[in-house]
């Protein structure tokens, strides 16, 4: 039976399988200490046990829910702010230096301030995830709108299209690849922001569980949870990649 995997995919899959097999052999043979790393098969069985046992089901759900909220919020708010700043070039010019240096600000340092404002709950963590992601979305939306060819706007005028029709049928489809890239980045940054905040600062969530297992020398739990995070992020990225490919294929650009 054909799996329908292209050569590049086959090579990628083979490379992953070879690396995992080598790691498995190295760990089982004792070349790598168990205190440093456990065999991938143990990570997998540990992950199955965690998910099956449902011991930290609530923590996983809270983290994934937080990431979803941060990503959704940053995509919606980033999109709207991007559109507004694109429409108001003067405000954009004055904000440009701030946006350019935004990612040099260690957003985690604001966590205590968010606790003061919102209390000891998940809101500060979600806000950190949101703040990590929102500017990536915003700048990509502005880039996309900047790059809508002037001739397409003129074409809309020649077709006597009104402003709303021009926006939805010309401008947004034209800027769609950039907006999509912004959304992809927003999702990735939401993962980084939420998991990072949980890991460093919080006392709940998947990130906190990984940090706790690390401090407790519980390598099986730690690596199993890391595997869970990697699998979830890979699955989300895989879905987004497939979606993007389908969009670009429709434009004959893949």
């Amino acid at each position: 039976m054909k799996l329908g995997i292209k050569p590049a995919g086959t090579i990628r899959l083979a490379a992953i399988v070879v690396c995992l097999a080598a790691l498995e052999v190295a760990c089982r043979a004792g070349w790598i200490s168990r205190l440093t790393l456990i065999p991938p098969s143990e990570m997998a069985s540990g992950l199955v046990a965690i998910v099956w046992g449902r011991a930290i089901e609530g923590e996983i759900a809270a983290t994934m829910g937080g990431i979803a909220l941060a990503a959704l919020g940053s995509i919606v708010v980033g999109f709207l702010l991007g559109v507004l700043l694109h429409a108001w070039p003067r405000i954009r010019t004055s904000l440009d230096p701030l946006l350019a240096t935004y990612y040099s600000i260690p957003i985690f340092v604001f966590y205590p301030m968010f606790i003061v404002f919102f209390g000891m709950n998940r809101i500060p963590i979600i806000i950190i995830g949101f703040l990590f992601a929102v500017v990536a979305m915003m700048t990509n939306v502005m880039n996309g709108l900047d790059r809508v060819p002037r001739v397409l706007i003129k074409s809309a005028q020649v077709l006597r299209m009104r402003r709303v029709a021009t926006t939805f049928r010309i401008i947004l489809p034209s800027a769609a690849p950039y907006i999509f890239t912004g959304a992809k980045l927003a999702i990735a940054y939401s993962f980084v922001g939420v998991l990072g905040a949980e890991f460093i600062l919080a006392n709940t969530g998947l990130g906190y569980q990984i940090a706790f297992a690390f401090n407790d020398f519980d390598n099986v739990k730690m690596y199993s949870l890391i595997l869970l995070v990697v699998l979830v992020i890979s699955a989300v990225n895989g879905l987004l990649f497939a979606w993007e490919r389908a969009l670009l294929q429709r434009r004959g650009q893949w």
């Binding site: 060819p149 001739v151 397409l152 003129k154 074409s155 005028q157 020649v158 077709l159 006597r160 299209m161 029709a165 049928r169 010309i170 489809p173 034209s174 769609a176 429709r250 434009r251 004959g252 650009q253």
Partner: protein, 284 residues
């Protein structure tokens, strides 16, 4: 053969026999440094219904500005543009189609959907859209590429998609802004033949902006020669070609004579244009 173009008619909004009438049209732009840049005019012109009129002139003389003013994409600072007796002001009137130099195909739509786009915007019935798009696809020779996307086509084919998207709306005035500017010489000649065939088939009036003297000579009933900025008509040359014509005209003696006449008029203007340096940055 030559008829002088007038630049100083009084501004009037009157019914005219001409399909398009420009009366003392002038266009200024505000330069970024605060100066006022005189880009065009004053110029006056009348286009007869069903004629093929080309405009040639040195770079930066305001040819594209003229087209935008005629289309209603840009307002004349002074003077008036009339299309079928009605003043063009602020928006593109119904009945005008424009093909731009740049690729204006929509990359997210197939060739068929690109061509159908304007009809759908106007709320045409699905059956009517299918019929007119099929006709347009056949007219521009893209029937086999109906399902392709612009990125899968050559530059010439994409330009044909844009021409078809314009023609399908059956405009009475077609404005072509250097539509073959990005194409090689052979393709330009063949595209010229296609445009002539389409012009005959549709009966529309065509205003072509071009850098190419050969193209203007070959395609046009009349050629307007513009001065360096601010662009005014130096002369309007009547070619005298029959309506049934194609690129084989390029080997006739009269073709060379008209092209030479255009170049004689343009040579000094082009020198002036080259000596003028880069135009100031402007705000529309």
């Amino acid at each position: 053969m030559a008829t002088k173009g007038s630049n100083e008619h009084p501004v009037m909004e009157v019914r005219t026999e001409a399909q398009v009438a420009l009366r003392n049209v002038t266009r200024y732009f505000d330069a970024v440094d605060g100066r006022r840049l005189h880009a065009l005019g004053p110029l006056s012109l009348e286009l007869r219904k069903g004629e093929f009129f080309s405009v040639v002139g040195p770079s930066g003389c305001g040819k594209s500005t003229l087209l935008e003013v005629v289309a209603g994409l840009s307002r004349a600072t002074e003077g008036a543009v009339l299309f079928e007796g009605k003043r063009v002001a602020g928006e593109v009137p119904e009945g005008i189609g424009v093909v731009f130099q740049e690729d204006a195909s929509f990359p997210w739509l197939s060739v068929r959907d690109n061509i159908a786009f304007g009809l759908r915007e106007r709320g045409a019935a699905a059956r009517e859209i299918a019929r007119r798009v099929d006709d347009a696809l056949a007219l521009v020779g893209l029937r086999d590429f109906a399902g392709a996307y612009p990125a899968q086509l050559s530059g010439g084919m994409r330009q044909r998609v844009c021409i078809a998207r314009t023609l399908v709306l059956e405009p009475r005035l077609i404005l072509l802004d250097e539509p073959f500017g990005a194409l090689d010489q052979q393709t330009r000649l063949l595209m010229g033949d296609e445009v002539l065939a389409l012009w005959r088939a549709t009966g529309a009036t065509v205003l072509l902006i071009t850098h190419s003297l050969d193209e203007a000579t070959l395609l046009s009933d009349r050629v307007g020669v513009m001065s360096a900025r601010p662009g005014r008509f130096l002369d309007i040359i009547e070619t005298g070609w029959p309506r049934e014509r194609d690129s084989r005209l390029a080997s006739e003696a009269a073709f060379g004579a008209i092209t030479s006449q255009l170049w004689r008029l343009l040579r000094e203007e082009s020198k002036k244009s080259m000596g003028a340096g880069a135009p100031a940055r402007v705000t529309a």
